[in-house]
Symmetry: C2
Subunit: 186 residues, 2 copies
Amino acid sequence: MKKSIAIDMDNVIVDIEANWISWYEREFGVTVAREAMHGIPEDQAFPDPLAARSLLYKPGFFRYAPLIAGSQEALLKLQEHFEVYIVSAAMEFPNSLPEKYDWLAEHFPFIHWKNIVFCGDKKVIDTDFLIDDHLKNLDFCKGTPILFTAGHNINVTRHQRVNNWEEAISFFKPHIEGLSIVSELK
Amino acid sequence: MKKSIAIDMDNVIVDIEANWISWYEREFGVTVAREAMHGIPEDQAFPDPLAARSLLYKPGFFRYAPLIAGSQEALLKLQEHFEVYIVSAAMEFPNSLPEKYDWLAEHFPFIHWKNIVFCGDKKVIDTDFLIDDHLKNLDFCKGTPILFTAGHNINVTRHQRVNNWEEAISFFKPHIEGLSIVSELK
């Protein structure tokens, strides 16, 4: 049986930082540098954090967000060897539910609806691996936690870290090769 | 730590049979008896199964469905002793995502968004109990499966069966009492 990987959306396959910066710029005329988000929650990087948070409820915010570089190719590759699930804590922003679904359908049409989970707390999710940018998810996951670098988590020192999808694929290489050997033995 | 229960929506807290029958009647002028659904998939109980299935994609189908009797009181009670999660395979009908969210907000406002999961395959869900009407979910669940009676599953002989929420509460009574003793010992 293939091992399973749960993959978060925002900051992992969705470039929500770039999206947030560009929405703030368009709505409030202030450009925030990406580096301003380093080591702090994203909303705190904006001159008006409450105004920044209000953008999360605007129609289209989640629908037209850009991709994290290399995510499509990486998931396609991982899918050859693993059961890949998209697991997003979308329930906090119910307006995001149809937008995230449509975004996935556009950018990741190879992910079946059976492999999509929109939840609140990820504690009930049981997969062999979880790739996520948040400790609130990684600290309590049942499988192996993998921290995907985002501005807000750059100072985090626990958990295996991958800085991008190239590194993520490298991390899984031994697992992929291990699985190949097992399947050859069968 | 409280034990966790995952609770399905359709046919468990949502009376989707009654809803389907009343939509079919309104749209196609044919009244189907509830007993016609006994032992077969719901759509097969209608003179035109394809037409019946088309209703699942109509705006409002999931939003205004009636409740299963006793479900609100039962979940409120269970929540005192268990971590209660709503886990619905809503991803098959993406139009249902906001409707199911709003339905829950109206009828189960005491269920926090952190405890709601809309998924595809429930295999990745790990809770101590799963109350569901479908074998495709119960057969593969990681906890204790509990079959909630619906017309389509009346001939199923495996898994613990509860016919209604009164019986479900009775089933959990020993677990509740067990938990009380544990908490008294602390």
